[in-house]
Symmetry: C2
Subunit: 514 residues, 2 copies
């Protein structure tokens, strides 16, 4: 086994946070904008988000949820109606106070004191209050229910410490908002959205997730219950990749979302909300990236196959480009994941080897190089991004395939790569979960400071509430640990609570988290 | 010819502005949000915008433009760099001054004085300045050019008088931003975008447009030249439905967008920008709607065919629903406009006739009703939205077709409807343009106050500049008239300028406008 010269300057092992930044920069996905807390999403990063949007939107529509669009601004008086909700968000919002600028007499501009808003507007941090207001107009009768809406939008939460894709002041997401006749209906929708997120994460993002309920201290402000999908990153930390909330009737009460029930009396709706954001792009990077850069699951890749012609800037180039164009046309006739393949012929000037490494760092699933000899022999040189290296000689593991055979097999190979990424992430997660911790000492040993990537502990607990829960959460916080969720499909509890010593009622995940 | 009982309570002729509001409300497209100047776009309106996005996005990508995403907020200092640009926008922007709220001691919240931003942020009214900032980092060499970017985003311009879709404080759009080596390249891109908008308007929205250059007084603030597509609404007014700007080098100078040219010296880029917004939805309504409500061009319709089963709430319903489901499945196998048909089986409770009129008001291109007798005879009752009435008896003009025949012909009929809407709008426009006005008196007569829908006048002018242009614009303003554009494909000038009496150099449209 020979040493490999990886395409990044830093490895995951050396410094995971630095590695994350380098993946984003070298894959040309995004960059800091110069505007506090806001990022610029560059075409490759945006293309991946567009794919996520398309695939998740299809799932949302298939469930009968309708897209709509609601205002960016929320009048302050509207926002403050749900008390707990305000408490949770009031500390981190962009506040619009003026609607005009005026010359400051020094060549600059300042907010015009004459144009001060009577009531400040906040830039939506989430839209329960503004959509609830519309719902109150739209639900008259049980016949109007369920009312199931979704919007794709930007939201703003003022963040002091930001990290690209993971925590930015402005971020993009979809937020589903539904209203129902009963608790049961609303709970069923809450869990349907959760399962939809699981399917999206696992099938589209190739990201295995643990599905479960958040403990009370991690609930969405104002919610009765919050459920999440949690994914393990390669540094062992957890990332909450989507949430679904059962809001009970408190938001309906605050916004006056009522309906006439089947018996003719007025009732409050039971509402839900659920969201997945550009954070998922960060999750994808940290779950699948390697020391050569990003690896994009084929279902999400803006280009699944990139063809790199080896041009010599001479008369032979035209023939190679024609051969490559024919290859692209043939690949476009193939389908994977129910859609025609997405294929780029990268014919821009530049050395083939440099382009190859650019596409490796960008994580294109299949990179195909074509030189004069390949063309003569009717062949192509194929690199699989998920099996980049020949471990015997430390060189790129090109597969020299007949062109037609490659075309015929391309879709199947892309499906294999998708599966490989999922399996690899799943195996890594399972290898890094412990389920037999039954003392705080054992927990401390598992999360010992010198263990860099300790993974997650699934422990048994008694589901303490109120002050008792706060105490446990503080205990964890002192260890830089958090509760993730109570997995829906866990084994029943059969021991004592790790924290209270009382009989355990269920299992819960403990981990460091993003 | 019998009197027809139309589906709206008001006709276009009686009050066009009221009619517009009723179309939007009765088609369930949008409503006022309660947030000043902001609207809620409801599922049917949003579905149409989603279709517009999909079709225009395809055209944008086909031109090699890449989508990306830039911050919602622009630091004030960044915005003020291009002086003319500031002058044009400074009067109508949302200004963020604080990033936190605090209790006011009376149960409410106020902006926290401790959390006042050092530099206010403005909510983007357009993104030249923020995207220019990124371009300055991304263009090093002529090899990086052209740099062609687009974003789909919300923008905010504080508007005092708003009208749904036409003028709202927050609106949605795409904004293309490109940087080039030379004036010629940038001008070519400006006109390419303009032609793309024409094709989108005419082929997708079935909206004939006049393509031309805006006069200097209507230029985008800071631009060297602005071009537009202008559409005639049914009240004869003009609506600017898309613009494309050649920005010269002034934005590049302000944002420092430079590149090393082929000879090795530093040059400023020539930039362009171009945009189409949710205003296009308003244009579609006012170009195609009739006294029965909205008519959606089939290429844009979220559902092109709506199947309404005639249910009797008895045992026979199951068979009808099955028949309708089979019809839907068969239609989904058909394609129009290069995509599978979009077909809804409206099986929700309610009278078929009530549902029929709902879909008429929503403008679904084909409404298909199926009752027990239709089913027995293997037939369907088809209403074409563009030929709704039997003018002889004043009743809906149902076509009783064999089911299989309807399925086979549906795509062709949809294409015909698309063409019909275009042809009708085109004929109406041409019938309402005058080209022989050569005195101000004739202009006044054409736009006389008692002529409700006078249309447009194409007049000859000498292209005055500076103060001379201002004088002419004032003359028009006093008549509530505006210049629209100098059409690219007009006959050459051959007379005197209507305004200055000097030899005319070109033709320009004069109209009332939205």
């Amino acid at each position: 086994m020979t040493a490999i010269r990886h395409a990044l300057s830093i490895t995951r092992d050396a410094d995971f946070a630095q590695w994350y930044q380098e993946v984003i920069a070298s894959a040309d996905m995004a960059e800091e904008s110069g505007v506090r807390g806001c990022m610029v999403i560059k075409p490759w990063g945006w293309g991946i988000w567009e794919r996520m949007q398309a695939l998740l939107d299809r799932r949302i529509k298939a469930a009968g949820v309708q897209n709509a669009y609601f205002p960016l601004f929320i009048p302050l008086g509207n926002f403050v109606r749900e008390a707990e909700h305000v408490e949770g968000f009031a500390k981190e919002m962009a506040v619009v106070t003026h609607h005009r600028l005026i010359a400051d007499g020094k060549g600059g501009l300042v907010p015009d004191p004459e144009a001060k808003l009577e009531e400040p507007l906040i830039v939506r941090p989430t839209s329960e209050t503004i959509i609830g207001d519309a719902m109150s107009r739209w639900t008259q009768s049980w016949r109007d229910l369920p009312l199931m809406l979704n919007q794709w939008a930007n939201v703003v939460r003022w963040e002091m410490r930001t990290r690209m894709f993971l925590r930015t002041s402005e971020f993009l997401w979809q937020e589903g908002h539904t209203a129902h006749e009963s608790r049961d209906d609303a709970m069923a929708e809450t869990l349907r959205a959760l399962e939809m997120y699981q399917a999206f994460a696992e099938e589209d993002v190739a990201l295995p997730v643990i599905v479960g309920e958040k403990p009370a201290n991690e609930r969405f402000p104002g919610a009765v219950g919050t459920w999440s999908i949690e994914a393990m990153m390669q540094d062992g930390k957890a990332l909450q990749a989507g949430t679904s909330h059962y809001l009970g009737t408190s938001f309906a009460d605050a916004a006056n979302i009522r309906f006439q029930d089947r018996e003719g009396s007025q009732q409050l709706c039971h509402t839900t909300s659920w969201g997945v954001s550009t954070r998922m792009v960060g999750a994808m990077i940290m779950a699948h990236g390697d020391d050569d850069g990003l690896r994009v699951p084929p279902a999400l890749a803006p280009f699944q196959v990139v063809i790199v012609p080896m041009l010599r800037e001479d008369d032979g180039d035209a023939a190679i480009l024609e051969y490559c164009a024919g290859l692209r046309a043939a690949l476009l006739q193939q389908s994977a994941f129910g859609e025609p393949l997405r294929v780029l012929l990268d014919a821009k000037p530049g050395k083939a080897a440099a382009k190859r490494w650019d596409w490796v760092r960008k994580g294109a699933p299949l990179i195909v190089e074509v030189g004069p000899r390949d063309m003569e022999n009717g062949k192509v040189a194929v690199l699989r991004r998920d099996a980049l290296w020949n471990l015997d000689n430390g060189k790129p593991a090109f597969d020299f395939a007949a062109k037609d055979e490659f075309v015929t097999n391309a879709a199947a190979v892309l499906q294999q790569i998708q599966q490989f990424l999922f399996d690899e992430a799943h195996a890594r997660r399972e290898a890094n979960i412990v389920r037999d911790i039954d003392t705080i000492e054992a927990l401390d040993a598992f999360f010992a400071a010198d263990k860099r990537y300790p993974g997650w502990a699934e422990v048994q607990w008694s589901r303490p509430e109120g002050g008792a829960l706060d105490k446990v959460v503080e205990q964890l916080k002192a260890r830089k640990l958090t509760f993730r969720n109570v997995p829906l499909d866990a084994e029943p509890a059969n021991g004592a609570c790790l924290f209270t010593g009382e009989p355990a009622v269920e299992r819960i995940y403990v981990a460091r988290a993003y």
